[in-house]
């Protein structure tokens, strides 16, 4: 399960925003991987997706973090472009193969 797919699943379950560890945990819980995504892989991917306009992010309110006595979270959310890109990708995935593609497929 990809970051985008997991983020959309979280959004549909009512979690509009997520932080890095939350998405790593969700990916693990959805059963795609047995371990949490590596720090480097995760934050590099999130950064790239943000650059591509699929995600947006902001620092959470410092007071909220201070109240819980923890470091501030960087909160991400899926943009409209991210939703559309995911829908387009899933539609393509579920589209029946064209006659040409079937003809080119190895038998």
């Amino acid at each position: 399960m990809s970051i985008l797919e997991t983020a959309i699943a979280l959004r549909r379950s009512g979690e509009e925003e997520f932080h890095g560890f939350a998405i790593a945990k969700a990916i693990k819980e959805h059963g795609e991987t047995r371990a949490l995504t590596a720090h480097g892989t995760l934050y590099k991917a999130l950064g790239r997706m943000e650059k591509a306009g699929l995600l947006e992010s902001r620092w959470e309110d410092a007071l909220a973090a201070a109240a819980d006595n923890r470091p501030r979270r960087r909160l991400y959310h899926v943009t409209g472009l991210g939703e559309r890109a995911y829908s387009a990708a899933t539609t393509r995935e579920h589209q029946p193969k064209t006659t040409l593609e079937e003809g080119l497929a190895p038998s």
Partner: protein
């Protein structure tokens, strides 16, 4: 040891983040470091709430750190190289190397400890030794790894005791795995570093 093992791996993760973000423009650097810091806190908090043993959390963090190194380095290249002048790239790489060389031996100690602990389990799996020999060598190498880890964690608070633990761990581990050549060389580097450190501690600063 459980809480200490977590704080040790958290420190190692932060140290690595400070190495590969060195020389990167302020905002990007601070963001990555803060995100790693937050992630470490969230994972330890989540695992504690779930009643997961601290060593399991520490092990998973080390795994996340090690598996992410290639992505960290390529992210660094992306941050430093595109649309930047050659001199800026050179400057960024130089500062990263300086930080890495300052932390090189502690990182080496951490890696050697991880190798020894992993080997302790690996020895138990090899079939070319008797059960008794496997248990003996597995224990020796495991103790060496734990001495290195313990020394690394206590290096700032109790430098003399920590240096003795690291030295003992390096010698013990190197003696048990001398045929690899690499571990005796690494142990030698660590011992020279420890000796230089103890000499510097004995000579008071006069400036």
């Amino acid at each position: 040891m459980s809480g200490q093992s977590f704080s040790g791996v958290a420190q190692l993760t932060r140290a690595w983040a400070s190495v590969y973000t060195r020389g990167i423009p302020g905002q990007q650097r601070e963001r990555r470091r803060a995100e790693i810091d937050s992630d470490l806190w969230e994972q330890s908090h989540h695992d504690r709430e779930a009643g997961r043993p601290a060593f399991a959390t520490s092990f998973e963090i080390v795994l996340r750190l090690l598996l992410g190194i290639p992505a960290d380095l390529s992210w660094r290249l992306e941050q430093v190289s595109p649309k930047r002048s050659a001199s800026r790239f050179y400057e960024g790489s130089r500062t990263m190397l300086q930080t890495a060389s300052r932390n090189a031996v502690p990182i080496l100690i951490g890696l050697l400890a991880a190798v020894f602990v992993a080997s302790a389990f690996g020895v138990g799996l090899t079939g070319d030794m008797s059960t008794g020999a496997r248990a003996f060598w597995g224990t020796v190498v495991g103790i060496a790894g734990l001495l290195l880890f313990a020394g690394l964690l206590e290096l700032k608070r109790r430098p003399t005791a920590a240096s003795i633990a690291i030295g003992a761990g390096a010698i013990l581990g190197a003696a048990a795995t001398f045929w690899t050549i690499l571990t005796p060389v690494a142990a030698l580097v660590i011992l020279v570093w420890l000796l230089r450190g103890s000499r510097q501690r004995r000579v008071p600063a006069t400036a």
